[in-house]
Symmetry: C4
Subunit: 283 residues, 4 copies
């Protein structure tokens, strides 16, 4: 953990150096700081896991002390991040700012409510910071493409989930009527809807299974349905993944339309000749 610790410079200088170390991943100091951070996060998540294991109960005190040390470190880091941030408000309400807060909050809340302590594991979300370290690498571009495709397919998949939820509600209720009287597993409609979700998603725990002939017949149809419609999110997402391979960002000088085929010469919207794109070949 090679963290720069220069002899304290005048105050405005200190702020600047801190900013470089904490926020600038493209400097050696910043990179080292971020790697040290990641190692600490992984270590901290492992601690929370081990603490929950009964056979290691003897070491529980050790785990707690270590966790508190890490929590204090993270708290100091959080305060420093706010301190040296040029735009404090922006950092606090940014994606990473909220995660940084969530990473320390559960430990403090854990003093009051013992169970919430394990929520400290949400600090594993801080591991997403790994993308900042490899900021300039090939990885981010791919991650961007993935995220982009996911975003565009999100509303369609949400729509699909809405249908699924209506469907499992009805299927679960039907199964409750069919199996409810003879099968103690189908004890009520929410339980039966849970069964329908377990079945249609092809998870199939087997904790609730039909025992009547009609129940098994309906189940079979639910399974075949689930097996077929698994195609829907696949189709939606694949279509989005492929799209950027097809359309290219040619902007029409005349009407501003941006969606053109790779080989288009004239704007399909206004008929104007498209700018030559031989130089911007790489997409």
């Amino acid at each position: 953990m090679k963290i720069y610790f220069p002899s304290l410079p005048p105050k405005p200088e200190l702020k600047k150096i801190l900013y470089t170390v904490i926020f600038k991943t493209d400097t050696p100091a910043g990179k080292n700081f971020d790697i040290a951070l990641l190692v600490t996060i992984v270590f901290s998540v492992l601690l929370a896991m081990l603490e929950s294991v009964r056979s290691l109960q003897n070491f529980r005190n050790l785990f707690r002390i270590l966790e508190w040390i890490i929590t204090v470190l993270f708290t100091i880091e959080y305060v420093l991040r706010i301190y040296c941030s040029p735009n404090k408000r922006k950092y606090i309400f940014s994606f990473y700012g909220i995660i940084d807060l969530l990473a320390i909050l559960p430990s403090f809340l854990g003093i009051l409510f013992s169970t919430t302590r394990y929520l400290s594991i949400v600090r594993s979300l801080r591991l997403l910071r790994i993308f900042r370290i490899f900021k300039l690498s090939h990885f981010v571009k791919e991650s961007d493409h993935l995220a982009d495709s996911l975003k565009r397919s999100f509303s369609k998949i949400l729509l699909f989930s809405y249908f699924i939820i209506i469907m499992v509600t009805i299927l679960g209720s039907i199964m409750y009527m069919v199996e409810g009287n003879v099968n103690p597993s189908f004890s009520n409609i929410p339980e039966s809807i849970y069964w329908a979700i377990v079945t249609i998603t092809t998870v199939g725990y087997g904790d609730i299974t039909p025992i009547t002939f009609t129940g098994q017949l309906i189940s079979s149809m639910v399974m075949l349905l689930g097996y077929s419609i698994i195609a829907v999110p696949s189709g939606i997402f694949t279509a989005e993944m492929i799209r950027p391979l097809r359309k290219k960002n040619i902007i029409c000088d005349n009407c501003g339309n941006k969606e053109h085929d790779k080989d288009a010469k004239y704007c399909k919207q206004c008929g104007a000749s498209l700018p030559d794109t031989k130089n911007k070949q790489k997409t």
Copy 2:
């Protein structure tokens, strides 16, 4: 629930106002009515669920009373819909008209046959009406595209299901012959076919599992088969999802280019105006 309740106007006026409130989702009154409706539906579905939970049996009478109130409200709404509809016949036999009827029927049938009462949960289908509320939004277009792709891939997926059903019939029978004598789970052919469906769809409840070596060998092959052919509905649907992103058969009068986007107005090859295609919309 801000529903317009103007002081009763002369009769033909009343009918018109009712029509606006109930059917016109693009007016403020209509939108409010529809949102109130959706909230009532969700509430009603939750009621039916809670009624089935044994630990809440004390409140059962309350649930029933509330459900009857909702059923009466839905019945009034259904009568009003017929009353104010300009084309009564068309509404009654429309998709939503049938669902509206199905939403109230089970409660009345429930007086005669106690179990059918839970069928009132089919009123959750009324939640599909949500698409009418967001009628003008981006969502409907996506929903249309999805529905369109599903419709076109439907016959192919049906064909695929037909093969699957023939296959599981044979596989189930073979497993019955192999396991039937030693494994009480494979007690008859329908049960074994049920097992084959559970396995080939990768649901895998585990309520029926092979115990002989031959049985496990056959199962393994069934699993690998199911794991591979899950690709089939995915492939079918993805192909359909991608198609509309490709092209529509518009032929350029000038240069004969036939590959144009659905929304293209000018030929991308020569810039000529494309013929109007509003009449040949259906592909």
Copy 3:
């Protein structure tokens, strides 16, 4: 079951009429015959299923008698098919010819070996004949496209299965070493390989599950692997499904190359001008 039964004509005539009725699905007589056949097959398959159900044991004799009647009918049909077929050898060794034989064989073998009797259910394969009835319809074309894509992706999926089998062999053996001593479910390597297949295909019966920490860790990796590589058959098949939407059957007059893009004007192999395809637009 309106089957034509004309008063016996002179022999060569009889053969011709029989041929029309049995083989020609596009004549009314042929269509009726085929529909009657399908109904009989479904009925026969249902019989075999019911016969295996213990609670219906009282009717077993009835089921057997009915099944024998159907077997005799199928045998007569098979003999007649050979008799009236213009090319007997070709029919006997054709796909449907073999299925027709398989449909009657198990019943006769069942006299000798009681268990094989249930194999009579392979006559459900005769249901594939349904495609002949709807021969001229839209369905066959789609079925052809599906079958074509499956055929082309078959060798790739086989290759993939070969890898999977090598993988599960190794994974199963590793799990046997890890779990074998403490977990009676992993009693030997074949059993452990069976577990690996159940897991990697995401079927997950749960009849064999890891109990050690290392075992669960390895299982988790196997699951994530299986969850990821399910993409492989999907990708292979989807690519094949999409292909015909792209390539078009233009044959180069010069070199015979058949793989050209939809919009190709010159052969990519020899540079010769491609024949005009405006008239063969529909693929």
Copy 4:
């Protein structure tokens, strides 16, 4: 097993002949050698499997003797491979060289540590050599295409797995907090994370299942999530599978058309000969 055994020729000759037999799969002698090798590998893997089966314990000594014979044969083969290899270093550290060593190592290590003996099953990896036998066939090209697509989608799928792992860590911890106190199955966080992986990958063993209402609600959401994001690896891989079917960046010197198939020699737009692309092969 027709292996060439010529009467010993002078030493340098022997080396050459050995090289031909062992490494050259395109000669008859080489092909026969490789087929004999594959048969031996399959036999050896089966032996290791059978040895682990308790009911065949009586034959265990036989199995061990046979396995040692095969191990000795493989060792001789390995030594000969090194001996006759023109570039010994290159062979030893090649993919197949390492596998060949791994195939004999566990047996020798098994003398010291009894459990590692079963690792000898890694010799099933040698079955990958099958691709060398069918080197010139159609299969390799398809295998190459598959491997290529896998390689390119690997980093994206790794990224996806990274997200999944962060997600299951958090989901598992939440479930531990929800179910931990009432459900002995969720005994600690690692166990709960294992449950989350079993659920999100739709494997669904059912060895650990939620019993509280909140637990089942969260599970349902995890299942729907897993059912939806199975689309992600599919989309990634399908996009890669389709890409090579599309185009390669060859620019026509004559008309500038850039969309050509991988194997195109002449421009499809103007018929001009395309520039040689053998040097820019890697995309």
